[in-house]
C-alpha cells in the first residue's frame, strides 16, 4: 500500500464523487485501491450509488415533471397582478428618477449660473453678491476731493469743517428762517470695529448743520440730530437766536449692522433728522439716502431732503 490511510482513501472517494478531487489526489487514491482489498468493495459500492439514486429519482418524478394546466392558468392569472404591480412600481421609480434628474439638473444649473454670473438683485439690478456684502464699506470711487465741490458754481458749498475730507454728496432745505444742510463724506479712519472712530459703514460719515437767518429772538433753544428713530438732543441753551446762529453735528453711521443690511436688502432709505426747538416752534429737516450695493462697496443714491411732518 502507498502513503494514504483507509480513512483518507474514503475521504478522497467522496471528493471524487463530488468532482472535487485533484489530479494528484486521484493518483494516490488509485494507487491505494490497487493494493487495498478492503477499500475496493466500499468504493465500488459508493460509486454505484449515484447511478442508483438517479434511476430512483427519475423513475419517481420524471413522469410527473410536467405541471398541470391548472397550475399554468393559476400562475398566468397571478402574474397579471404582478405585472400591474411591477408596472406601477416601475412607473413610480421612473417618475422618481425623472424628478431626481430634474432637481439635480436644476441644482447644477443654479450653481453654475451663480458661479458664472451672480443673480441680479430685483430692486437695484446690481449683482446679488453685493446685496449681501460681507463687509459694509463705502465705495471709495464715490469719494471726491473737497475742491471739486467747493469750485461748484452754486450757493450750496460744503462747510469748512469738511475741508480736509473727500466728499460724496450734500443737500439742503429751508424751513422758515432756518436752513438745514446735510453732507455725506468719506473718512477712512471710521470703522465698524473701532469704538473711537466708529461707523457701521466703514469710511462713511455725515455732517449736518442748521443756521438761523431770522431776527433775534429770546428764549430757550434745543437742537437735535440723529438717524431715525434714535434722534438725540445735542445742545440746549437759554439765549437769543440771532442771525447766523447755528450748529453742526458730525458722526459715523451709528445704526446697527442689521438695520443697515435691512435697508440695503429692502432698498429703503436711511433717514437722518435735524431739528431745532426755539420760541418759534420746531423747525427741522429729514435727509434720506439709499445705500446701493456695488462690487467695490456701497454707493449713495437718491439723496434728498424733506420737511418735518407735524
Amino acid at each position: 500500500m502507498n502513503g494514504i490511510s483507509h480513512k483518507q482513501a474514503i475521504q478522497l472517494t467522496h471528493r471524487r464523487l463530488d468532482g472535487m478531487l485533484k489530479e494528484k489526489q486521484g493518483l494516490l487514491l488509485e494507487e491505494h485501491l490497487a493494493s487495498c482489498a478492503s477499500c475496493r468493495p466500499y468504493v465500488s459500492e459508493m460509486e454505484l450509488l449515484p447511478d442508483r439514486l438517479q434511476r430512483e429519482f427519475h423513475a419517481r418524478w420524471d413522469e410527473k415533471e410536467v405541471p398541470s394546466q391548472n397550475m399554468m392558468a393559476r400562475i398566468q392569472q397571478q402574474t397579471r397582478r404582478v405585472i400591474m404591480s411591477n408596472r406601477v412600481s416601475f412607473g413610480l421609480r421612473a417618475f422618481a428618477g425623472f424628478v431626481a434628474l430634474v432637481v439635480l439638473g436644476s441644482s447644477l444649473n443654479y450653481i453654475i449660473k451663480n458661479l458664472q454670473n451672480p443673480i441680479p438683485n430685483s430692486a437695484t439690478g446690481e449683482p446679488a453678491f453685493a446685496s449681501h456684502p460681507a463687509i459694509l464699506a463705502i465705495d471709495s470711487n464715490s469719494c471726491k476731493p473737497y475742491s471739486e465741490f467747493y469750485s461748484l458754481d452754486s450757493i450750496f458749498r460744503p462747510p469748512g469743517q469738511l475741508h480736509e475730507y473727500e466728499l460724496i454728496q450734500g443737500t439742503s432745505l429751508v424751513d422758515g428762517d432756518f436752513v438745514f444742510e446735510f453732507w455725506l463724506y468719506c473718512d477712512t479712519s471710521l470703522k465698524p470695529d473701532d469704538p473711537a472712530h466708529w461707523s457701521t459703514i466703514a469710511g462713511l460719515a455725515i455732517a449736518s448743520s442748521w443756521r438761523y437767518n431770522g431776527p433775534k429772538i429770546e428764549g430757550e433753544n434745543r437742537d437735535y440730530y440723529g438717524f431715525e428713530p434714535d434722534i438725540r438732543m445735542s445742545t440746549g441753551w437759554t439765549g437769543p437766536l440771532f442771525r447766523a446762529s447755528g450748529g453742526v453735528g458730525q458722526m459715523g453711521i451709528n445704526l446697527s449692522e442689521e438695520t443697515i443690511r435691512q435697508h440695503i436688502q429692502q432698498g429703503t432709505p436711511v433717514r437722518f433728522r435735524v431739528m431745532v426747538d426755539s420760541p418759534l416752534g420746531r423747525n427741522g429737516a429729514i435727509f434720506s439716502f439709499i445705500l446701493v450695493p456695488a462690487e467695490s462697496g456701497l454707493m449713495i443714491a437718491d439723496l434728498h431732503a424733506e420737511h418735518l411732518t407735524p
Binding site: 467522496h14 471528493r15 464523487l17 463530488d18 468532482g19 472535487m20 466500499y42 459500492e45 459508493m46 454505484l48 450509488l49 449515484p50 442508483r52 439514486l53 438517479q54 430512483e56 429519482f57 427519475h58 423513475a59 419517481r60 418524478w61 410527473k64 415533471e65 410536467v66 405541471p67 398541470s68 391548472n70 397550475m71 399554468m72 393559476r74 400562475i75 398566468q76 397571478q78 402574474t79 397579471r80 404582478v82 405585472i83 400591474m84 404591480s85 411591477n86 408596472r87 406601477v88 412600481s89 416601475f90
Partner: protein, 175 residues
C-alpha cells in the same frame, strides 16, 4: 428579459414563466414529493421571483437564483407538512385511522427500491435536499452551495453523510 419583466412587460413575464416553470416544478416536486404541494410551491416561487426581480443583481445565474427562492419556499412548506404530519399521527392514534396507499403509489413502490426510498424520506432536509440537487438536478457542489447559501465544504460534508447513510441502507438490504 429581466428588465422587461421589471417594467411589467406581459410577454416578457409569460416568457419567463414558460422558460422556468418546469425546472422550478421539478425542483419543488423533488423536495416536497407531493404533486399538489409542488404545484403550489412552483406558483409561489415564480411569483416571489417576479416580485423580487429588483433584488437579482446577476451574482449567480438567474436559474440558480430562482432555485434558491424555490428551495426556501419548499423548506417553509416542509415545516408546515411536518406540523400537519404530527397532527395526523395524533389523530390516527385517537381515531385508530390507517392510511392505504393509492394504486399509483403502490405501482411506484414496486418499481423502485422501497428501502432506498424510505431512507431518503427519513433523512432530514439538510441532507436530503443536497442529495436531490446533486443526483436529480445534476448540480455541482458550487451551485448547490449558492442555492442553499452555505459553504461548499458544508455541501460536501452533507453529501458525504447522506451517501454513507444510503450506502448503509442498501448494504443492509444487500444490493
Amino acid at each position: 428579459m429581466i428588465e422587461q419583466c421589471r417594467a411589467g412587460n406581459t410577454s416578457a413575464v409569460e416568457y419567463f414563466v414558460q422558460i422556468y416553470q418546469q425546472d422550478v416544478y421539478r425542483l419543488a416536486l423533488s423536495i416536497l414529493d407531493d404533486l399538489d404541494e409542488a404545484e403550489d410551491a412552483t406558483q409561489e416561487s415564480l411569483l416571489a421571483a417576479l416580485r423580487a426581480l429588483d433584488l437579482f443583481h446577476g451574482a449567480s445565474s438567474l436559474k440558480t437564483w430562482l432555485f434558491s427562492i424555490t428551495v426556501n419556499v419548499c423548506r417553509t412548506r416542509l415545516q408546515h407538512q411536518k406540523r400537519r404530519q404530527r397532527l395526523e399521527i395524533v389523530l390516527d392514534a385517537i381515531f385508530q385511522r390507517t392510511s392505504t396507499p393509492t394504486v399509483e403509489e403502490t405501482a411506484i413502490q414496486h418499481e423502485s427500491n422501497q428501502a432506498l426510498w424510505n431512507a431518503i424520506h427519513k433523512m432530514n432536509e439538510k441532507h436530503r435536499i443536497p442529495i436531490v440537487l446533486r443526483y436529480y438536478h445534476d448540480l455541482s457542489v458550487t451551485e448547490i452551495a449558492t442555492i442553499l447559501q452555505i459553504p461548499e465544504g458544508t455541501v460536501h460534508s452533507r453529501l458525504n453523510t447522506a451517501r454513507k447513510l444510503l450506502h448503509a441502507v442498501l448494504k443492509e438490504g444487500s444490493l
